[in-house]
C-alpha cells in the first residue's frame, strides 16, 4: 500500500487539475466531462452497472481460466514432445502477431451473440502469453538439477513433475499476468460486436445517447477492474510460490 501512495497522490492531482481546467475553459461536457460528472454518472448508474460488470468480469475470468488450462496443457506438450515443439512453436510465435480482435466479427458469425464468442476472444488473447511463457519456463529448467534428479534414477515423468513443472510456475504467472491485463479489454471489445449485457454494451448504448460522461465512467470502471484482476493474479502468484517471496526471513524455531 505504502508504495502505491505516490501514484495515488499523482492521480488525485490529475483529477483536480482536470476538473479545474474543464470548468475554467468552459469545455462542453459532451466533449470532455469533468471528474465530478463521471462520479455523478456512476451514482446514477449504480444499480445498472453491477449486471454489466458481472457479465464482463465473468467472461474475462472464464476466458482466463480456459486460457490457463489450454495454455499449460499445450506448453507441456510443446516442452516434452520435440516434434510438436518444432511444428507448433514457430507457428505460435508468428500467430502472436495476428491481432485477435479482427477475428471478433468472425466469431460472432460462428458463435452468435451469447457469452461464447467473448470468452473465445479472451482465451485467444490470454492464451499466447501463457503458452509462450510456460513453455519457456519448462525448457529453461536448470539443466544440472535435471541431471541430478536423473542420476537419482528418476524417469521422464518424475523429472517433469519434480523439476520442470515447479521451475515453470513463475513463468506461467508472468504469462497469466499479461493475459489478465488484457482480458477485460478483450471482453469489452468483443461485446461491441453485439451483446445483451456487459460493459461493452453499456458503452455502445451510452455512445448512441451521446452520454460522454457515461462512456468515460465505464472506461474508468474497466481500468479499475483490469487493475484488480492484475493484482489478484499477483496475489495468487504470491501464494502459489511461497519460496519465491521477497524478504523471506530466516525464522528460528527455538
Amino acid at each position: 500500500m505504502r508504495e502505491l501512495l505516490p501514484a495515488m497522490i499523482f492521480v488525485g492531482l490529475l483529477l483536480v487539475g482536470w476538473e479545474m481546467w474543464v470548468r475554467a475553459r468552459d469545455i462542453p461536457t459532451y466533449l470532455l466531462p469533468p471528474p465530478s460528472d463521471l462520479w455523478q454518472a456512476f451514482i446514477d448508474q449504480r444499480h445498472a452497472l453491477p449486471v454489466h460488470i458481472r457479465t464482463t468480469l465473468g467472461e474475462a475470468l472464464l476466458g482466463l481460466l480456459c486460457a490457463s488450462l489450454l495454455g499449460v496443457l499445450l506448453a507441456g506438450l510443446i516442452a516434452s514432445v520435440p516434434l510438436i515443439r518444432r511444428v507448433l512453436y514457430p507457428l505460435l510465435v508468428i500467430s502472436q502477431n495476428i491481432p485477435v480482435l479482427v477475428l471478433a466479427p468472425l466469431l460472432a458469425v460462428w458463435f452468435g451473440f451469447g457469452m461464447t464468442p467473448k470468452v473465445v476472444i479472451v482465451v485467444l488473447i490470454g492464451f499466447f502469453p501463457i503458452v509462450v511463457n510456460t513453455t519457456d519456463g519448462l525448457l529453461r529448467a536448470d539443466r544440472e538439477i535435471v541431471e541430478l534428479v536423473r542420476s537419482m534414477g528418476a524417469n521422464r515423468w518424475q523429472i517433469f513433475r519434480t523439476v520442470l513443472v515447479p521451475s515453470a510456475i513463475p513463468s506461467f504467472f508472468a504469462g497469466l499476468q499479461i493475459g489478465a491485463a488484457y482480458a477485460v479489454i478483450g471482453a469489452v471489445i468483443a461485446e461491441w460486436m453485439g451483446a445483451s449485457s456487459g460493459l461493452g454494451l453499456f458503452i455502445t448504448r451510452s455512445q448512441r445517447a451521446f452520454r460522454t460522461d457515461q462512456i468515460f465512467m465505464a472506461v474508468v470502471v474497466i481500468a479499475l477492474i483490469s487493475v484488480m484482476l492484475f493484482a489478484s493474479v499477483r496475489l495468487l502468484a504470491h501464494f502459489a510460490m511461497p519460496w519465491n517471496r521477497d524478504g523471506v526471513q530466516v525464522t528460528k524455531t527455538t
Binding site: E147, R150, S151, M152, M241, W243, V250, T251
Partner: protein, 253 residues
C-alpha cells in the same frame, strides 16, 4: 582386489566442442567396499568429470567404469552423487529437499521423512526443517545437499567437494564431522577435493591427479589411526604423507 566397490579402468574423456577438451586420460582407480577414497588435483583436472562418469551422466570416450561390478556407463542411480553445486530445489522446503533422492529411489515418503528426522540434528539442520533453501547459509545448503545424498539408499557415495563452500575454520570442523558420519555407516565414499589436508584427514587412499588432461600421478595409502583429529596435521606421519602428495603435484622441488 575383487571386492572393489568402485572401479575405473583406462578411462579417457573428451568433451566435444571446438576445440575438443581432453578432460581426463587413462584413469584407473578403485575403492574397496566401505573405504574412503579421495581424488585430489588442481582445478580443471577432471575430478568432477570422473564422478559424472560414475554417476552415469556421461559416457567416457574410452575405458570402463563400474560400481559393485555393474557398469556405470549409461546406468543412473548405482551411486548417490552429490554434485559440486548444491543444486537444492528452491521450491521445496528443507525436509522435502532432504528426502528427494530417497523418494525418487522409491522409499515411501513417510519412511523417508522419519529417516531424515533422525539426521537433522547431526547435520545441524534441526532448526531449519521447515525453512526454504533461500533462507540457508552456504554451509547449511551444503550440509543439506550432503544429507540428501546420505539419505539415498545407495552403498556408494560420490561427493564432489562437499565442503567447498565453507570457510577454512568451519571446514576443519566439518572434516572431523564428516569422518564421524561416514564411520557410523561405513559406506564407500569417493570424495573429490583440492584440499590436501582434507584428503589426508579423511581418506584411506588418496589418488593425486595432474593438471588437465588429468591422469593419476600417485596413489597414496593413508594408514593413520582413526578417528583422526584436526591436530593430527602436525604429526610426523601426516607431514610425511603431505610431502609425498606435494611431490606428486610437483609443488616441491
Amino acid at each position: 582386489m575383487t571386492e572393489a566397490a568402485v572401479r575405473l579402468e583406462g578411462v579417457r574423456h573428451v568433451y566435444a566442442g571446438d576445440p575438443p577438451v581432453v578432460a581426463v586420460e587413462n584413469i584407473s582407480i578403485e575403492a574397496s567396499k566401505g573405504s574412503f577414497v579421495s581424488l585430489l588435483g588442481p582445478s580443471g583436472c577432471g575430478k568432477s568429470t570422473i564422478l559424472r562418469v560414475l554417476a552415469g551422466l556421461i559416457a567416457p570416450t574410452a575405458g570402463t567404469a563400474s560400481i559393485d561390478g555393474q557398469s556405470a556407463v549409461g546406468c543412473y542411480s548405482l551411486a548417490a552423487h552429490m554434485p559440486q553445486r548444491d543444486l537444492l530445489l528452491p521450491w521445496r522446503r528443507v525436509e522435502a529437499n532432504a528426502t528427494l533422492g530417497a523418494e525418487i529411489a522409491g522409499i515411501p515418503r513417510a519412511e523417508a521423512r522419519s529417516l531424515a528426522d533422525r539426521l537433522y540434528e547431526r547435520f545441524g539442520l534441526d532448526e531449519f526443517v521447515h525453512a526454504w533453501p533461500s533462507q540457508l547459509s552456504g554451509g547449511m545448503r551444503q550440509r543439506l545437499a550432503l544429507l540428501r545424498t546420505f539419505l539415498m539408499p545407495r552403498s556408494t557415495l560420490l561427493l564432489d567437494e562437499p565442503l567447498g563452500a565453507l570457510d577454512a575454520l568451519t571446514r576443519r570442523e566439518m572434516q572431523e564431522w564428516l569422518e564421524n558420519v561416514w564411520q557410523s555407516d561405513r559406506r564407500t565414499v569417493l570424495l573429490v577435493t583440492h584440499d590436501i589436508e582434507e584428503a589426508l584427514l579423511l581418506s584411506d587412499v588418496v589418488y593425486v591427479m595432474s593438471p588437465r588432461p588429468g591422469h593419476i600421478v600417485a596413489r597414496i595409502d593413508v594408514n593413520l589411526a582413526r578417528p583422526r583429529r584436526t591436530s593430527d596435521i602436525i604429526s610426523p606421519g601426516f607431514v610425511e604423507l603431505k610431502e609425498r602428495v606435494l611431490e606428486a603435484l610437483h609443488m616441491r622441488p
